[in-house]
């Protein structure tokens, strides 16, 4: 009975199919866990960065705020920086610090009124447009609003060019 080739063939196929099912039983939850960041909804939260009166017209300063959904063990890495510019007219613009070339943090040089990137030499004007170097597009902007006398920035995902 057990020597029949049909039976062996069937047993092989069943064993291989069962093996695949077992692999899927382990693999699907693991893959799902690892790919979880792709399924998270995009987190955005308004974060206060200071009172309106703190920011002088025509100046660009660095502000710090908490990420939209930091985990408890993130420590200081749960913070994000941004360049907040108050136009001479009083409106606010917030630029991501990330260079649009490859993401390095751009510095604001107040006297030259330029943002400069330390990695590959990207330069931006005070309005975030590209002045020189490899960046393919202007600096990313975060939405800004004024609420109860506080300047608030919409903390958003790290901009990817």
């Amino acid at each position: 009975m057990s020597e029949s080739p049909e039976r062996r063939n069937l047993l092989s196929k069943i064993s291989i199919a069962l093996g695949c099912a077992g692999a899927a039983l382990i693999g699907v939850p693991v893959a799902g866990f690892l790919l979880a960041p792709l399924f998270e909804s995009v987190a955005r939260k308004w974060r206060s960065v200071g009172a309106v009166g703190q920011f002088a017209n025509g100046k660009t300063v660095e502000v710090k705020f908490e990420d939209p959904s930091p985990v408890a063990w993130a420590g200081i890495t749960g913070q994000t920086g941004a360049w907040l510019r108050r136009e001479p007219t009083g409106e606010f613009v917030a630029f991501a610090v990330n260079c649009t070339h490859l993401g390095c943090p751009v510095r604001w040089l107040a006297d030259a009124e330029l943002f400069m990137c330390p990695c590959h030499g990207g330069v931006y004007y005070k309005d975030g447009t590209v002045a020189a170097g490899p960046p393919p597009r202007p600096l990313f902007k975060y939405p800004v609003r004024v609420q109860n006398g506080q300047v608030q920035i919409l903390a958003s995902p790290t901009p990817i060019t």
Partner: protein, 464 residues
């Protein structure tokens, strides 16, 4: 002693260990292979350093984004032998990259990738990729400011991949921003995922070396013919082969231990690289750089023509991988001797020189504004009129000198302006400042007319 021998015999009778290991040790290898064949085994010796020091470091390293930096500072400055261990892991990583590169160049130059060893070359290419990934993920685990920004740069590069780029970037960050999830992921990649792949690939690599034997010393009179090679190789081994242990293995041991000793000495003498500032993404004063073995690629990214970047960032690694993989499939026969393969030798010379030049450029990174430039002193004003002195001051505070140097002071992003008036007229200088130029910002909106006058006065004074 007798007890030990008895114990061994008992063990051997039950495991058959001596019949498994013995033939491997004594298998015949081609004679006179010499010192050119020691780099693969030396890589394995250094890999052992990485495994053991890595396991030891993992007993103290905290893979939490909020605490990794402090735990590494503790390992480096307080733990007994921690400084040495971290140094060994660091210099071991450098040695891995270096030795994998040399081993690969040797295999290429002696044509050892040809029939029947094509697949072993391909596995070697995969191991090269895994080694670089280990280096990069390891650099991130230092989790200082450089580590954080390197992660962002990696995510941005992955983000350039068409269609799936943003997903890849998100998987690299482990979420939507650099944070708690990022580091623990990289830790798992560095200590579980990639090492598991490396173990599997090294086992295959060595298994195939045993299966096909190491390549004999290339000889111009013995081109590889897949039809006859195997029989010829077997016959040659029967006639003149020598046992691997100890006839060939002694060189592997001597060189391998020498390399290990070098790594330990470097670690003892120089120690582990100091961490930069803490991983606080709000510290903007960052200067992100990859470790030395990827600096040449950093230079590539800085010097690409505008518009070509996405193609190069995405396409170049894929193209390089395809070229390396199909190499042994296309050129699997014929001459192995470097003396008969001038193009092979020339391509190695070109690749090594290109990487060398790019590496040097990466170290200097002249395309970056030099934020540490020492201020131009008004004393270097050629004719010390008030306007010229004011111009020298403005040249410094308005950021000109981050990119332009005068008499050796300043950055190298733009042209040296020591004798600028020999090349450009006053009018041309004024136009450049106001309108900018290729790769230079326009300063019309940020300079007042008297400031422009002073700067131009300072610059037009610069002539022979």
């Amino acid at each position: 002693m007798r007890f030990l021998r008895r114990a061994w015999e008992w063990f051997d009778a039950r495991t058959d260990a001596s019949n498994v290991i013995g033939p491997i040790l004594r298998h015949r290898v081609p004679p006179r292979t010499g010192w050119m064949y020691v780099f693969g085994s030396a890589t394995l010796f250094v890999f052992l350093i990485q495994i053991f020091t890595g396991i030891a470091l993992a007993t103290a390293y905290v893979s939490s984004a909020g605490q990794a930096y402090e735990s590494l500072q503790w390992i480096t400055h307080q733990a007994f032998l921690g400084h040495l261990l971290r140094g060994m892991h660091y210099f071991g990583a450098s040695a891995m990259v270096l030795l994998v590169g040399i081993h690969m160049i040797r295999t290429f130059l002696t044509g050892s990738y040809k029939f029947p060893r094509e697949l072993n070359w391909v596995i070697g290419v995969i191991l090269l990729g895994l080694t670089i990934l280990m280096g990069f993920t390891g650099q991130l685990l230092r989790w200082d400011q450089n580590g954080v920004w390197s992660t962002v740069v990696a995510a941005e590069q992955a983000g350039r991949v068409p269609w799936i780029g943003p997903w890849l970037a998100r998987l690299i960050l482990g979420g939507q921003t650099v944070g708690g999830a990022t580091l623990s992921r990289f830790f798992a990649y560095h200590v579980f995922f990639i090492p598991a792949l490396i173990f599997a690939m090294v086992a295959l690599h060595l298994g195939l070396v045993l299966r096909h034997g190491i390549s004999e010393k290339p000889s111009a009179s013995h081109p590889v013919d897949p039809k006859t090679y195997r029989a010829w190789y077997e016959g040659m081994l029967q006639r003149e082969g020598v046992p691997f242990w100890p006839d060939a293995a002694w060189r592997d041991v001597v060189f391998g231990v020498f390399v290990v000793a070098c790594v330990v000495w470097l670690a003892w003498h120089f120690g582990a690289p100091e961490l930069t500032t803490p991983p606080d993404p709000t510290i903007i004063q960052a200067y992100p750089r990859p470790d030395w073995y990827l600096l040449w690629y950093f230079a590539v990214l800085a010097q690409l023509p505008h518009g070509s970047e996405t193609y190069v960032i995405v396409g170049a690694p894929i193209l390089a991988g395809i070229c390396l993989v199909i190499l042994p499939l296309v050129f699997n026969r014929g001459q192995r001797s470097p003396s008969r393969r001038p193009w092979a030798v020339a391509s190695i010379v070109i690749i090594v020189m290109s990487v060398g030049v790019l590496w040097y450029r990466g170290v200097k990174s002249p395309w970056s504004p030099d934020f540490n430039a020492r201020p131009i002193s008004p004393a270097i004003a050629v004719t010390p009129t008030p306007a010229v002195i004011e111009g020298a001051h403005l040249f410094s505070v308005k950021g000109c000198e981050y990119c332009h140097s005068i008499e050796g002071l300043g950055g190298h992003r733009g042209p040296d302006l020591t004798m600028v008036n020999d090349r450009l007229t006053e009018e041309q200088i004024t136009l450049r400042i106001l309108n900018g130029a290729h790769n230079m910002p326009a300063f019309a909106s940020s300079l007042k007319p008297p400031e422009v006058t002073a700067l131009v006065a300072f610059l037009t004074a610069r002539k022979k």
